[in-house]
Symmetry: D2
Subunit: 326 residues, 4 copies
């Protein structure tokens, strides 16, 4: 198939490459000419803009926008819609808020344009490992671009089949992509995926914090263990209940430097963690772990909260406890 | 009554004073001669040590140890027990762990010594307002020293009676002290009191953080409110559902400086918050709020956790996200 | 002043009564004729609808909508706006989302109508104690209706002045009402108030849970205390650091029945707890306690979460642990 | 080597089998004769008790106690110590509290007996996959039984080596076992492992709860997605950031029944989750996620907390809200 890809950053560029490796054609555009040139060197067709891209695609045209969530995606989808007509397909592969997908799909449907949202996991490893994709949109559109999704997905690979999985179940899930539901469903599932990701990461973070604390010279010597965090991460990869890809990454980082001194610990959060909590609240579902994980990131980015100071002030008020800056 | 008081810090000194104001006699000792002198100036009898104190008390002797929890209290109670005999009374008014009380009471009972544990709330305000006391120990011992507790307690004062409180209920509760149960029960109730205190404080802290955040110039102007936190604290004291003494203290601190710049925000925790969570876990009672409040204090005292760095490392591992120290 | 009040429920009816007691006139309307009749019996002027009400008010007309948040408030404000003109004042005293206030104020301003949002705390006790009010809107409008707010507020009463509060500060805060900022600011502050309220309530709830658990016969006898929760709540009201109005209410409920058997424990939440967390996330402010308090309410209303079952399923998967329904 | 194994339950029996498959000899004992018979059928040597077992072992004798934590392990270790002498080795492979290990090792060392604690992960899958082991004890003892650990461990298998792991690092970690430190260190690391396990599990549980809630007919139709949880779990196994063994197990459970109706959702917790929080508090390390995960399990086992009822009572007190049992 021929796919027009807008946004050639870490994700978009490699998606184009993986598609081309599978025999698909990629027409590419980015605001940075360098990014376009790099893809052209790998076999892509350059486009000078969205209108030019449209001219270079087949009919129905297939556009894949791979941009950060927010205004830029909104503008790009709008711009694509302007050059599209009946039957064309617009795919948003970024991290859009799923309610934006619902709205956009509705608006584009009025012009006969088919909108697909794709949540993509796999990060910088996707080019080699393939991308795990959660897809929302109308069935006919999703089916139309299925060859493309099949090429991007990891495929069965060496991961064992799930015991007990019935033969009749959707085979795409085992290839690493699913059609989750109508427009918005793809990004919704990806959003929850990221919410879980935050929770998993924080669970490891707290566990290693406790191991680290036990090795700390703040404890008296009899209570201390001098633990090798690198070896602990390694051994847990091998037969333990908590083995995971995130643990693999932790083990690798700790193998390089057990103090992790290259990392600031100012941990960013994308919108998806927050949206997951929003969704939980809309459904009245308690999500203490996912929320605590999100808040740990907020907290990692400030020195002291104002609330901390208020605590100090109250303690001074009732107990005369003095907690003043040195 | 005549009471021997060991430990003349912020709490012990004022307890002696309030007892003397009510006509009781205080024999006092402290490691700091200055502290003894100050009490003697207020009418107390000086003791040069525990043995000397014993000689200056009536029979049965009543000792009140008012020291920080931990080794020093343990040593003092042991030392008192050595000079005591059948029928004498040893009171621990510090913040001891209630299981230590159970153990001590048992050990002292073998020599006929009666042990009482008193959890005391009221902080630096107790001298004027009276002390709220939660008492554990055998009934006969607690009854014997009742006149002393009655003098220390706030009394009915201006606080309205609780609607619906039956006439037959223990009148002491309305005077501000209770006999909570056998040895340990007093400190157990005080421990939970402090656990709740942490939760309440953190609830206000987070609320004011959100108000502060809404006034922050990190928000775009249309989304910002320039809120006067001092007036908000003040108005909530008057007729709102969240009025409390801790809010009174917050209002006072904010009235002096709305930025609370005098406070570091490195918030200490005594053992009681931690013991409360221990008790919750022993009972298998979920206590998410009390625990989050405790952990917020731990977090206030570190710059970055090691866990934060591990999060950064994982994010770099899967997404190439760079979170390095500047 | 003459005020038109729409919505004569628990809150609206008593607001009308308190205004009339202070010499103001109330023109009243409710969908329930009985509610109108009751107010007329107390001296109010009946209106048959919004248009009729407008005719019975002075110029500028002052409308006070006191309805639950959501569609009904939106419709009512729209209906009022239709009969209003330049300079008239529309007050929303319900629990509206503050962003709705911002939007409404803007829309109404185009017709010269002045919109005020009032967050009101005090519950069923407001008629006697007065209402604590947090007000948003333009200064001239808020000033115009000041006599009405002054009548509704608790006034100085017996609550002591805050030590350290400067003389020059807004005196209204000490009377129990504040002008918090432009439209939306009133409901924003009230929203955070409710968020804090949830946190405070849950802190007490967990504390009493731990006291209750310690009295449980699930513990072996030596580890158990037979605690009198009624007396504990009572004594904490008197001189302790955690005294508050919510504790007063708890003491009263426990005095009536220490088992609280009349209460289901299916705890509702209004929108404001959720909006507070939304606001925290928008500001990137960690709010672990307020969130845990909200989630505890969600959790109180379900028997088992699906997540609980998944935990059981995983435990069965790795450990052969059997957690099946009996 | 020849190893005496006491406790032939799910774990102990399979450990004996895996050792025998590797050419080691197992002398076995259990309170259930049936369990002994089953092992003898697989090639083990029966012992009629600990003394008999000692007679059938080489010198130094190697005992492996594989019993649930608590009194039974304590009694067994004591009984073994009574028949042991200088140089013999006692291994506790159960889930003991690490502070018990420290104490036991000290006591046994006085008689020249060498104590080793082994935290074992792998559950019912260990016989085939091998056991991930975290080992504490003196170097000479651990080295002596190394062939046994090597046989029990998974070995390198198909799990890729960690990129960046230096050549010089302890090779045992890559085989799936580590010598973590002195006595207690093994169970300490295993304890934290289980704490993390709880956190990971709860992160998935909450995520699937949110997916489930989105499919609920409590939502209005436009806001609902009819999500296939089985396929979602499956697709996340393949190339996503959150792939893990626990997810594999979830996918398998959901493949068998997407409603998980066979599971009660009354989720048990072993002591290790609780001890992990204890350790965090001793180190003053915030562990919000691990604690929330533990508390979710407590909460899953009660219908309503007493605290829930107190919330209802307060709500009735200030707002007249009625939350009574139907």
């Amino acid at each position: 198939m021929k796919i027009g890809i807008i946004g050639l950053g870490r994700m978009g560029g490699n998606i184009a490459r993986r598609l081309m490796r599978a025999g698909h054609e990629a027409v590419v555009f980015d605001r940075e000419q360098k990014a376009i040139d790099a893809l052209v060197a790998d076999g892509a067709i350059a486009a000078s803009g969205i209108e030019d891209m449209k001219g270079k695609l087949d009919s129905p045209a297939i556009f894949w926008s791979m941009l950060p969530a927010g205004d830029i995606t909104e503008q790009t989808v709008t711009a694509i819609a302007e050059v599209c007509g009946e039957g064309d397909i617009v795919i948003d592969g970024g991290n859009s808020f799923y309610k934006d997908d619902v709205r956009r799909a509705k608006a584009l449907a009025e012009k006969g344009i088919r909108y697909i949202d794709v949540g993509t996991s796999g990060g910088v490893w996707g080019l080699e490992r393939g991308y795990c994709m959660m897809i929302g949109g109308d069935k006919d559109a999703v089916d139309h671009v299925d060859p493309m999704f099949a090429a991007l997905a990891p495929g069965l690979g060496t991961i064992p089949r799930t015991p007990g999985r019935p033969e009749g179940d959707d085979a795409r899930a085992e290839q690493g992509y699913i059609h989750a539901g109508p427009a918005g469903a793809g990004h919704f599932v990806k959003m929850v995926h990221n919410g879980i990701e935050y929770g998993l990461m924080q669970a490891y973070a707290e566990g290693f914090d406790i191991l680290k604390g036990k090795s700390s010279d703040k404890l008296v010597e009899e209570e201390r263990f001098d633990l090798n965090l690198t070896d602990i991460a390694e051994v847990w990869r091998r037969g333990s209940v908590i083995s995971s890809w995130l643990l693999d990454l932790s083990a690798s980082a700790l193998a390089k430097d057990m103090q992790l001194e290259a990392f600031s610990g100012n941990v960013a959060d994308s919108g998806e963690g927050q949206w997951t909590i929003d969704a939980a609240m809309e459904e009245k579902v308690p999500a203490n772990v996912l929320t605590a994980a999100l808040f740990a990131r907020y907290r990692s980015r400030v020195d002291h909260t104002f609330g901390d100071k208020l605590l100090s002030a109250m303690r001074y008020g009732f107990g005369g406890h003095v907690e003043i800056p040195q």
